[in-house]
Symmetry: C2
Subunit: 323 residues, 2 copies
């Protein structure tokens, strides 16, 4: 018999992670789930501080995400960008008019000395999001992509070059000097934290920037709550983004098992897609619990179903581990 879960921490990056985050936000009570978001993609552009993963999550949780583009805001227009083009400005990073308000607000607040945590909390509050959204750190960390042609800043690789260069490795510049978000330290020590979810984000460039922060991986492992990850790979392919392509370029097998192995002993449990049920035993042999369940999230109901399955899995692990 399982008791209801109390608080949940979810680590998330871009679009894939935000889908499960939305599911969790919908099946849990306000404040019950805390999101810890990758900031390695953050960069300065046109004098503005842009935090793509935070914004993807904020827009997704507030039903502001643009369903047509998969990024940016709903009902977006591009008049500022068009005018910027006329003035000779950079337009490769598509900033919509409504999206700009977020970057202006954040840049102004940071310039005033507010922390990224405080700014993000204010944005989330104004967007009506009832769950805490925390950047992984308040210090700047920049994900750098190693390629055969040299190292690229993340957005150059991801947006400008459309993930074309073959990756050779990753570096999280500034990570060694960055501190874990202080609210996360408190949450990890809280007795009512019942589960930690690694959302189906890119392990290399969405989750690893979080895990690489000094002390983060150890703090997650030391928490009494189990850590479970949801595979971003289904039948050897990523639903969206360069995860599978990166695995091939890095010489890693392109399957969910390799993702479970990548996270390794941090995990107490791993969730595979139903189509990968044949890998459950192999994952279990890594020393973690594993289940297979539908993980493709097309509809809101899909997202809520996967969230419920994830929470059930956590409850199961908590109960199994109970004295």
């Amino acid at each position: 018999m399982t008791r209801p879960l109390r608080r949940i921490l979810a680590l998330t990056g871009g679009v894939g992670g935000a889908k499960l985050a939305l599911g969790l936000a919908n099946v849990l009570q306000p404040g019950q789930v805390t999101f810890l978001v990758n900031t390695g993609d953050d960069f300065d552009h046109l004098g503005l501080r842009i935090c793509p993963d935070i914004d993807t999550l904020l827009y997704t949780l507030s039903d502001e995400a643009n369903p047509e583009t998969g990024w940016g805001r709903r009902n977006e227009t591009w008049h500022c960008l068009e005018a910027l083009d006329q003035l000779g400005g950079e337009t490769w990073f598509r900033l919509g008019d409504r999206d700009l308000a977020t970057h202006l607000t954040r840049t102004l607040a940071l310039a005033r000395g507010e922390s990224l945590t405080a700014v993000t909390a204010s944005l989330a509050s104004h967007l009506g999001i009832p769950h805490p959204v925390l950047p992984m750190t308040d210090q700047p960390v920049a994900t750098m992509i190693g390629t055969a042609q040299g190292e690229l800043a993340f957005q150059q690789y991801f947006v400008r070059d459309r993930c074309a260069p073959a990756v050779t490795g990753f570096r999280f510049a500034g990570s060694e000097q960055a501190g874990i978000n202080p609210q996360i330290e408190a949450l990890l020590a809280a007795p009512d934290l019942d589960g930690i979810v690694i959302c189906p984000s890119n392990p290399f460039v969405s989750v690893d920037p979080i895990l690489t922060l000094p002390g983060m991986r150890a703090a997650l492992a030391a928490a009494s709550a189990p850590v479970v990850a949801v595979s971003p790979i289904i039948q050897g392919a990523a639903v969206k983004g360069p995860t599978a392509k990166m695995m091939a370029e890095l010489g890693v097998p392109q399957d969910a098992l390799a993702v479970a192995r990548h996270y390794g002993d941090l995990l107490d449990g791993f969730i595979l897609d139903s189509h990968d049920a044949s890998l459950v035993e192999a994952v279990q042999s890594l020393g973690m619990d594993a289940i297979a369940t539908p993980t493709l999230m097309l509809t809101l109901q899909d997202k809520m179903n996967l969230a419920l399955a994830t929470l059930d899995f956590i409850s199961h692990i908590v109960t199994s581990n109970a004295p």
Copy 2:
């Protein structure tokens, strides 16, 4: 008999000045007129450097000015501002989506270390403006409005409070440390400068910030070219803006004569509206030349006609003064 005028310098502020500026730009050859623009209205807002008078001139000269609002850009939308409102941001200063591109471009270039002169030249070039547009100075000067309730920053007075407070005086903060635009010094010394026009802008808050710059008034007076001003007051009223209201509050007679007296011995000539022809003699008695001509500029043709009348007046003064 008069010879064709060569180069012209025009001092200008906001909307009223920009109308004559457009007339001059249309009747003169590319590069023949240089505009020297008030920057006392400039301010930082939402982390952006905003130069209202420069932008009014740039938009007017490039046919980008919004004919409905009298400020900002044509075909403007307000999606960023609406989103900013949702996020709790300041929206009293109406920044349109297309207008924002100008402020982003300028702010970024200034942050890179470019001068306001260089940034403005680049904006003018991208907007296809064939005449030099120069800020009065590259250093920050802030027009402060003295009122019974205390001193107000210009945009607080002008936009936020809609010119409601009664003015008691003006201060141009930073003016003493600001240097005249270096290109103006060269132009004033140029042998082919044939005339200096003070456009029909507000004398107190559009033209005086220029004239108050250390050495500016003396340099204008020392130039061999005659200085002529066009009255912003017609039959005791301002076509637009608070000029007449300010005159009343300052205890100055609300008429064109008072404007001529305000500029005083800087002027070689003064242009009144036809309706104020009865004041011509009184202005002449101040020791300057004076004419009356239609100065209300509703159509482009009105603007070009006043520009031609102004240039004729300058030619007349140049010829009269010839040895």
